[in-house]
């Protein structure tokens, strides 16, 4: 965790809505080390997804600099894998074909080796030939993670990946992501609106405020892994982040001793 994988300086992004200009992101500066796990949290509309789309190369019209692995970001790149909120699997391809999608047309043995290895990594062995409509939400999201991993990217970008999953599947998937992170040693950037998720996964939690989207605070999470969601330190951190979004007295059921 030494060299910077991602370096963003003075990033500003504006959108034209009819004749108005809306500032989605203002003067964002952020450095992510190689192999680091960073959570970005903010309420909806704070521009956190826009930030991720810029890192992914899907939005190219911005001011400031965004550099990944030493080269400025001007478009998508295979070294940056993306997992979206929806699984976005191709309905006409099997799980195996979906995972192989980014590997081009080559049918060499090591391509399928990598595909099968990653299907196994996300725990979908046995479902290689299933079509997306046959999968549950959690399984589809696993397949989409395997697809992003198959190219062996240096960084994996998650855009609220578990927002549409039920609470139990979500917790299970968070543990899976940690396991994958430790196995692949990739840099992880996770955008979420779930405080618990941000603290459980991140080495650092970046808190964003809305309109315009700016970085409000960066909170390091110095808790040993595996983290215990029920521990005192974990709860303390969660409350501290909670307090950044809501005033103390708004908190329902807060420490009414």
């Amino acid at each position: 965790m030494s060299r910077a994988a991602l370096d963003i300086q003075g990033l500003t992004k504006t959108f034209k809505v009819n004749d108005d200009t809306v500032t989605a992101l203002q003067d964002i500066s952020l450095t992510v080390s190689q192999g680091e796990f960073v959570s970005i949290i903010g309420s909806s509309g704070c521009g956190k997804s826009t930030l991720l789309r810029i890192i992914a190369g899907l939005e190219t019209d911005y001011e400031g600099t965004a550099v990944f692995g030493g080269t400025p970001i001007h478009g998508p790149g295979l070294e940056r894998g993306v997992v979206f909120q929806e699984h976005r699997l191709f309905p006409w391809l099997t799980v195996r074909q979906n995972v192989a999608f980014g590997l081009g047309n080559s049918t060499s043995a090591n391509v399928w080796e990598s595909v099968d290895e990653h299907i196994q990594l996300v725990g979908l062995n046995g479902f290689e030939n299933a079509y997306p409509y046959q999968l549950s939400g959690g399984m589809a999201q696993r397949a989409s993670i395997a697809r992003a991993l198959a190219n062996r990217p240096q960084a994996l970008l998650f855009d609220e990946p578990f927002g549409a999953l039920d609470a139990l599947t979500k917790i299970q998937m968070q543990q899976e992501v940690l396991r994958i992170w430790q196995a692949e040693k990739a840099t992880m950037v996770l955008v979420t609106h779930d405080i618990d998720e941000a603290v459980f996964l991140g080495d650092r939690v970046i808190i964003m405020s809305s309109r315009p989207g700016t970085i409000k605070k960066i909170i390091p999470v110095d808790l040993p892994r595996p983290r215990d969601r029920g521990s005192y330190e974990f709860t303390q951190l969660r409350s501290a982040i909670y307090a950044e979004f809501f005033r103390q007295e708004d908190k329902p059921f807060a420490y009414a001793i």
Binding site: L58, G77, L78, G81, V122, G123, N125, Y131, R142
Partner: protein, 283 residues
């Protein structure tokens, strides 16, 4: 890894227990079960029987309303003479040729207008304008240009097939989920790969709908073309029946049109379902 797989399986079948079993059985095995297809057949069968009885009883005039058995006789008679097979072959060839030309042109044009905004802005308004011409209005012009031979008939059928295929494929291409296109971009597909690997497969269901309605129109237009001027074909057979006052020949032709229209539609439907079944979609 082993554990996560087990967990997945648990999630897949969360409510598998003994209590749900009897309920499922009760729903799926009632004592008297009429196959769904047979329910739909009841009315036509009843209709044919009534018709046969009324016709034999002399209540319906036999020359205007020939009994179903008389029609079947007429069909057999035409078939024995070898005449019918020739008429059918002519009509089928015209429909197929017109369908192929119309569908192919539509596919190419919609592919181009769908993938290049500039070409779409240039061509699409003109194509939409041509669409508003009632297709039958082309008949005199086609006859003048190409004479009364095969080409004018095939041209008319192609025009009929063209529009539904073009419109459905174009709208299929234009409504492809942007989110899937983005996945293609993430994996750095170039424009051609994007069309081949994402846009065309995604637009395929609407394309099939277009092909099926195009074929339907093709059958409609072959009748029109053959009625207006032909010496062979099922449409000609109908006119022949009208001229010679044989209602049974006309009705026999109608039955054959229905039969072949249904068969060709089923071919596309089955092929489509084979290709779409894996998406959980069935037309």
């Amino acid at each position: 890894m082993g554990t996560s797989h087990e967990q997945t399986e648990e999630l897949l079948i969360p409510f598998e227990n003994a209590e749900t079993e009897p309920v499922r059985e009760r729903i799926s095995s009632p004592k008297f079960r009429i196959p769904r297809q047979c329910v739909g057949l009841a009315l036509p069968v009843l209709f044919v029987i009534m018709w046969e009885l009324l016709s034999r009883g002399g209540i319906l005039a036999a020359n205007w309303f020939p009994a179903p058995f008389t029609i079947a006789d007429t069909l057999l008679e035409l078939l024995r003479g070898g005449e019918l097979a020739r008429h059918i072959a002519y009509t089928l060839t015209r429909v197929m040729a017109g369908f192929l030309i119309g569908a192919l042109t539509a596919t190419l044009l919609a592919g181009v207008t769908g993938s290049t905004p500039l070409v779409r802005q240039l061509l699409d308004p003109s194509i939409q304008a041509l669409r508003s011409i009632p297709s039958m209005a082309w008949v005199p012009l086609f006859l003048l240009w190409m004479g009364i031979h095969e080409s004018s008939k095939i041209a008319l059928i192609s025009v009929g097939v063209f529009f539904p295929v073009y419109l459905n494929l174009l709208s299929g291409i234009l409504t492809v989920d942007r989110k899937l296109v983005e996945v293609g971009q993430i994996f750095k597909l170039d424009k051609l790969q994007l069309v081949r690997r994402v846009i065309l497969p995604a637009a395929f269901p609407s394309y099939l709908v277009g092909l099926r309605s195009g074929l339907g129109l093709g059958w409609m237009f072959v009748v029109a073309a053959e009625i207006m001027g032909a010496s062979r074909g099922l449409g000609f057979l109908m006119i022949d029946g009208q001229m010679t006052g044989r209602a049974s020949v006309i009705i026999a032709s109608i039955v054959l049109f229905a039969l072949f229209g249904k068969i060709t539609d089923m071919v596309i439907e089955l092929a489509g379902n084979r290709l779409l079944g894996h998406r959980g979609l069935v037309l």
